[in-house]
Subunit: 403 residues, 4 copies
Amino acid sequence: MATESVELTGHIVDSLLLAKVLDAIVDAGLEYDLEEVEIGRTNTDPSRARITLQGEQAELDQLIDDLQVHGVNRVGVGETRLVAADRDGVLPAGFYSTTNLATDVLVDGTWEPVENPEMDCAIVVGDGSVRTVPMHRLREGDRVVVGSGGVRVHAPAKQRGGSVFEFMSSEVSSEKPKALIIAELAGRIRAAHDAGEKVLAVCGPAVVHTGGAPDVARLVEAGWIDVLFAGNGFATHDIESNVLGTSLGISVAEGTSVEGGHSNHLRVINEVRRHGSIAAAVEAGYVVGGAMAACVRRSVPFVLGGSIRDDGPLPDVITDTAAAADAMREHIPGVSVALMLASTLHAIAVGNCLPAGVETFCVDINQAVVTKLADRGSHQAHGIVTDVGPFVHQLADTLCGAG
Amino acid sequence: MATESVELTGHIVDSLLLAKVLDAIVDAGLEYDLEEVEIGRTNTDPSRARITLQGEQAELDQLIDDLQVHGVNRVGVGETRLVAADRDGVLPAGFYSTTNLATDVLVDGTWEPVENPEMDCAIVVGDGSVRTVPMHRLREGDRVVVGSGGVRVHAPAKQRGGSVFEFMSSEVSSEKPKALIIAELAGRIRAAHDAGEKVLAVCGPAVVHTGGAPDVARLVEAGWIDVLFAGNGFATHDIESNVLGTSLGISVAEGTSVEGGHSNHLRVINEVRRHGSIAAAVEAGYVVGGAMAACVRRSVPFVLGGSIRDDGPLPDVITDTAAAADAMREHIPGVSVALMLASTLHAIAVGNCLPAGVETFCVDINQAVVTKLADRGSHQAHGIVTDVGPFVHQLADTLCGAG
Amino acid sequence: MATESVELTGHIVDSLLLAKVLDAIVDAGLEYDLEEVEIGRTNTDPSRARITLQGEQAELDQLIDDLQVHGVNRVGVGETRLVAADRDGVLPAGFYSTTNLATDVLVDGTWEPVENPEMDCAIVVGDGSVRTVPMHRLREGDRVVVGSGGVRVHAPAKQRGGSVFEFMSSEVSSEKPKALIIAELAGRIRAAHDAGEKVLAVCGPAVVHTGGAPDVARLVEAGWIDVLFAGNGFATHDIESNVLGTSLGISVAEGTSVEGGHSNHLRVINEVRRHGSIAAAVEAGYVVGGAMAACVRRSVPFVLGGSIRDDGPLPDVITDTAAAADAMREHIPGVSVALMLASTLHAIAVGNCLPAGVETFCVDINQAVVTKLADRGSHQAHGIVTDVGPFVHQLADTLCGAG
Amino acid sequence: MATESVELTGHIVDSLLLAKVLDAIVDAGLEYDLEEVEIGRTNTDPSRARITLQGEQAELDQLIDDLQVHGVNRVGVGETRLVAADRDGVLPAGFYSTTNLATDVLVDGTWEPVENPEMDCAIVVGDGSVRTVPMHRLREGDRVVVGSGGVRVHAPAKQRGGSVFEFMSSEVSSEKPKALIIAELAGRIRAAHDAGEKVLAVCGPAVVHTGGAPDVARLVEAGWIDVLFAGNGFATHDIESNVLGTSLGISVAEGTSVEGGHSNHLRVINEVRRHGSIAAAVEAGYVVGGAMAACVRRSVPFVLGGSIRDDGPLPDVITDTAAAADAMREHIPGVSVALMLASTLHAIAVGNCLPAGVETFCVDINQAVVTKLADRGSHQAHGIVTDVGPFVHQLADTLCGAG
């Protein structure tokens, strides 16, 4: 086990640098000891933190390398090591890879500023200059900084005060491996159940259109969903796809529009109205499969909230919106995990009612929708930008066994 | 087998009505005979078409029902049938479901216009009025039109001439079952190979970030991809994820950022540059798995086109863009299916070079990207709005057997 | 005035070619005479159309050039004209610009197929070959086809029958000059009023957040909006921004979040509830400006439909969704133009109730939302992908004079 | 001037709470003094901060109210004040508006937990219970907490450690008033010039398609843009729209497609190639207006980087991508403000080369593009989700006077 100390100076609290650095340390699985934190008393005072890290030397080296992006330097930066390139366009192994921060290199005992900071370059020292060089411009003989010894970076300043601009954030990305996300989500659901807590699913109609309704049914049948909130659209298309094999007039089995399609949902709603309720229609054998039938059979409570665009609606839909929200509130105590599946309207409605501690996962193919949910102030909302059908299919496979 | 005749009047060519009607007939799997087509000679003359349909009576009834949305009427509309509702809020079985077109009902031998056209309603006749009624407002005793007898609709007019507005089109939708799309795409790929034609894959870096690179490798290994076009990003992250287990510093196995991540891709590029080419790096054992290694091993030709944002780049990247496009052109003859996988830049570049007959499938999670590709004038481009990682995984399972 | 005849062969109805061609002719402002239309009687029979065009020769040449993209040829294709390039990389003036369709060139009395169809290239004839050449690869002396004489194209085939794939369509684009769209929309609104018809505005909360509520107020004050539909969000934030100068706790004047912001909307709703109605709050002087106050003062009727996500709500909100839709239906007769401004939920709800003849304009920054509205089957819906605040500002300037 | 002390306990550094609180204070224009900060030495130790605020009492009250959302409490929480509702559904003025955090109320000297935390509600104390009540469920006589005295909240916990999930962030929103953003951006540009620094514009082709090219020209003519980077598309369409009045075959003046449109850009590129350079074409009078001509006349340097999708290209385009990036690097020293206008490819390329200190503003209608730019690690990138044409028009009006 080795020990290293790093330090960070500047507006490290209000520019979030300290938080990001601690995050990176924890993500790397290492222990830290925050020594000598001086927080500026006012807006203009800089702050300073010194952190001691413990771990394998190789891990420490990697981590410290990575922390430089945030403006962190090793305490005692060591010696600059220069290695000459042995051919054009290829860097020496272990080359120092630049950040875009203002950077100094220790040359003959003096800190020389890098002339043209640019990220993802090498640093070449020579002819009285210290400059970044992109890989393809390197020439044989150029003396390249290797390792992070003798290099220090300056933390970025943060411009403060009443900005109308938004700092861009990349925290909701569609470019993540989904298999890992599903595995971890399944773990959270299992943990909630192990702790005797409830899992809530909020479903939009796109769950049915993308073929995910049978998977929601599997999750309900297997006991993984304890309460379900939706609107007239989800319930209607779920029932329609089971009674008639279509969803909005699109054949779920063949993906093509079918004859008579445009009024299918109306006929299904009308028949369920004739039965008086979804439960009655299930008991009478009119509805056999699908997510709503699974809820009826498993006695999983559901609330269908009305919306002004509804056709029909189904007899279970609570058309008074204040009453519908109140009905949802009855089921929230005990919920610790909420899945918002391709639902904008109901997801926002439910998000407004949840206590801060409920972990919320918003799944939608449209990044703008995922971001919008966050605008409503939920504290623990995770965004997953993906196609909901395959997602819920894989989630059901993970929790229920491949179907 | 029964026979029915329908007719359609108005601007049926320039408002695309005739084409949509023929589409609906073919989609329903029925035969048609286009009799008595009169096309207006000038812009202001109306046109008229009479179509004879053959099929099972039930199918014909369904289809004719559906065709009414486009303004089609049965020749000889038959008798109006009215059934009184037996309870509030529930329609008689077989109720006529309205379109939003101007509509007339034959009442006592006279065509009476429906007062308030609205779609997805019933038509109630009584008290000297004919009006649409939404399901929930129906009262016991209301006389409701059942079946389509005695009902005719008027085709929508099209406003013509130099409009700056765009008619909305819903043809690129994320709300379709993906399993069907994949099955059909796999069929096209098999058909191309059976016909001795080539399949081209154009891959963007998000294929790697979403975990799809191993699936592209499976498709290459199994011989389903005959030529691959990409840029520095796809190739670099594919190699990085195999050499170091990361992609852009994100652990592909764990989905978390790893130490030293931000410079991983540079180090990988640098080493491949040292080897001189991707093929040399594969032969030397530096790169073992992934899509690029599969191409090298299976002798599947690839072209890597440079872009101004490239780091490095890899030695195989053709940095001159005119030369890169020319290199791609060499491989296009014989291609009949092109898969554009989460690639904007290269997809547009390749789309510009393809003859009209090549079937092109554009897969991207961002609908705007999919639409943009169509702006470039490709004739046979199909849009699939989905998450590319799970999509290519399922495609590889379908073509290569579950992996 | 000159006359030219063109012809088009293939699946010209069901692949929409004929409709597109007639569109292009009308857009060019020319007259046409559709002679000799033969429509295939069944799905597999090809069709043929011959069209006579009249206009200035220059216009005709331009149009015919453009129609070739759709597979149209001049009747009597004329002579091939070849001009040698006088330098590398520069084409002779008037060069024939290729489509990506299969193409033939008349060489010495024989139709020779172009070897490698690719769009936006020139055609070079020589050495026994006819091939497309991109501009940069042209060499001095290459013989290039100039003009469209001696060139014919083959209309693209359409693959028919129950496809799960969607043809991509670029009809909803954000890349159009907005000034023109606004001018034309203003014209439609003026024309509706001149004809004694009503203009309906459906407003979402983003109208307020992007600064457009004062412009909606101007349009109401000046009599351009005859009826307004919205939800609790739009009305609340419109009133909040007038009473407190904030919208969702963001200062509308300064764009920064203000203290006490998160509960502002609740306090405003509570005060309006105390007054009993928006009209009472306006009359009492609690609400002075904004769109809702303008409606009250100008006696423009409004309907506020409840939704399950509502806080409060305002006393005018109809919380029963079926009742709210019914209230909207009362105001629809007489409407001929509907503006859907950044509203998803209410736009879909209203779209479902409108007759086909109402021209509907959907304005939203999110293309997916605009497309989604089309999925609901409205016939005359135009999509405008733009930022609603500046859009409604410019619209108000155009109709009311710069404010 | 009044003084108040507040405190915050928990994982206040790594859950970013402290940074958000300091942000809110500075945004409110108040001074703070950070006393008694104790930062936990390790990952599991909680931290604590006590902050003294100075300002007008009303401002302080507002701010402290708002800070509660982040878990901040007044030191010395004061007395609980209860006021009975005087009618159903209307709260007493000054009611305490809840957060969704775990909350306690001081009742008869004891801290009682609120049973059902939910945001945007009131707190009702009575019958031995303390609970949140949504406004519409309040009944006359209910005793409601007024003011924040006697109320304390608990800071949200942060779940730490290697999560694959992303916390949602709403920092790139399209729902902001654009007039304010433009005013502030104009201020930054003026400030850069006052300081002798350079302003860089990176332009994509959508700038031309949305009608913004003349505004870029105005900004160049008036000296506000010091260097311009773009690709073949922007320069071609800018020149095309000036020479022929079209852009991609769309009439910029009328918004309709024009005859001969599809090859316009090729003919324009060809003529500029004949002249040898854009500058030569401007000097020869072939190109008179537009952004590129303005650059030539004002001697504003530009770099056009090639891309694989280019037609032609224009003679000034650097087709070697490594050389193009190097050419851009030459112009970066001295730049302090960078505007990325509807450009994905070049914006990423340029962002990779900029030092951290350069303020970067990314304007695009597509939120995914704006977010993607952030994925590349630029430190000071601000996202503005809007329609680029109207945006640049308003920016030019602000800086150059209404045109």
